[in-house]
Amino acid sequence: MTILETRALGKRYRHRWALTGCTLSIPAGHVVGLVGPNGAGKTTLLNLATGLLAPTAGTIEVLGEPPASGPAQLARVGFVAQDPPTYAGLSVADHLRLGAHLNPTWDAALARDRIDRIGLDLVQRAGKLSGGQRAQLALTLAICKQPELLILDEPIASLDPLARREFLQGLMEFTASHQASVIMSSHLMADLERVCDYLIVLVGSQVRMAGEVEDLLGTHRLLTGPRRDPCTYPADWHVLTASHTDRQTTLLVRTDSDIHDPAWAVDEVGLEDLVLAYMSQSSKAEPGPAPREEVQR
């Protein structure tokens, strides 16, 4: 089963395409990181996946069904929007009651246990909670409906490091105990590197790169060697970035084969550098791996 399957998906707001030609196929069981500069289309993609937006072009399926196609589909997907959505005037207990009434698969015991562990006061109004507590309350509502897929839009951007770690601990515990999948957008690469095993890079309304983190790290290499003419590079190299001094050439290369030429010093590339390389590529440059070839196996 796939958690997200899109084909040439696009969304236009008036005259501007916020997302175009988005084709993805992500198997279940992944924690997916969605990264890209501001305005790249991350929130648009997540809102399409939750059914809050309807596509202008192409198709999208979430857990094998069109998003928000009925109560059953809605029950399978949890969503935490940007700026953790809680009701400032309602107490923590009110939020839990709301969750219990709105969700047929609500786990009340899990909710009590989580509120207890986070240390939230049931009578406290959400408006009086700290940012970290509000985020934890929103996460509690989303996971206690026991979704198969949890979609989070920049859930930790505004939190301090401790609150961020606690949020991610709760999130990972849930994915482990419920075998749930997650799609989350974030700018915080260090956090994404810990929790994500699948990555989508969105730049300028388009998917620049998508795939399992392990494959991405295994197929990208940083090469340093004596200065060389680019036309001597092997045909199966995709050069992402190249910089030259009068003597030296440094390349970030995507290739499926080993690099045997001893003239190149070969280093592995960290996830953050890899993502930055894809993000900084201009749209005219050679596009990254086509998402389809990356995910189809």
């Binding site: 924690v31 999130l171 515990e173 994915t175 810990r194």
Partner: protein
């Protein structure tokens, strides 16, 4: 039961860090045959890492014959690495002698480390071939 920790800056993949920590505990005797490893849920709840990372580490330990999974219960230690400890003394003395020689030859700490790492890597490569 042991607890894992993660050094995000070490450059060592998280699943390898978990394997290394289990192996170290087996070597030191902190873990021994029959001990249970922390459950996947406990590890990810403590470290905030992807559950597949822990599963991968445990699968690797199973493959090495150091642990075995009991479905629905957990993963348990099936072997120890403790018996090699007798060889440590003489090896350490060899290494100390070698280090003294390297210093005499004028190598500083950084060069010694680089030389060791380079030799280790090429020797491992030869072994792999």
């Amino acid at each position: 039961m042991i607890e894992f920790h993660l050094d995000a800056r070490s450059g060592v993949a998280p699943y390898l860090q978990i394997i290394q920590q289990v192996r170290r505990a087996l070597r030191l005797g902190t873990l021994t045959v029959g001990d249970q490893l922390p459950t996947v849920k406990d590890v990810v709840a403590a470290l905030a890492i992807n559950p597949n990372t822990v599963l991968k580490a445990y699968r690797e330990l199973e493959y090495e014959g150091l642990a075995a999974a009991k479905p629905g219960v957990g993963t348990f230690v099936t072997a120890t690495l403790n018996d090699g400890s007798l060889a440590y003394g003489p090896l350490r003395r060899d290494l100390e002698r070698w280090l003294a020689k390297a210093r005499q030859a004028g190598l500083d700490d950084e060069s010694i480390e680089a030389l060791y790492r380079d030799t280790f890597r090429s020797a491992s490569k030869e072994k792999a071939i």
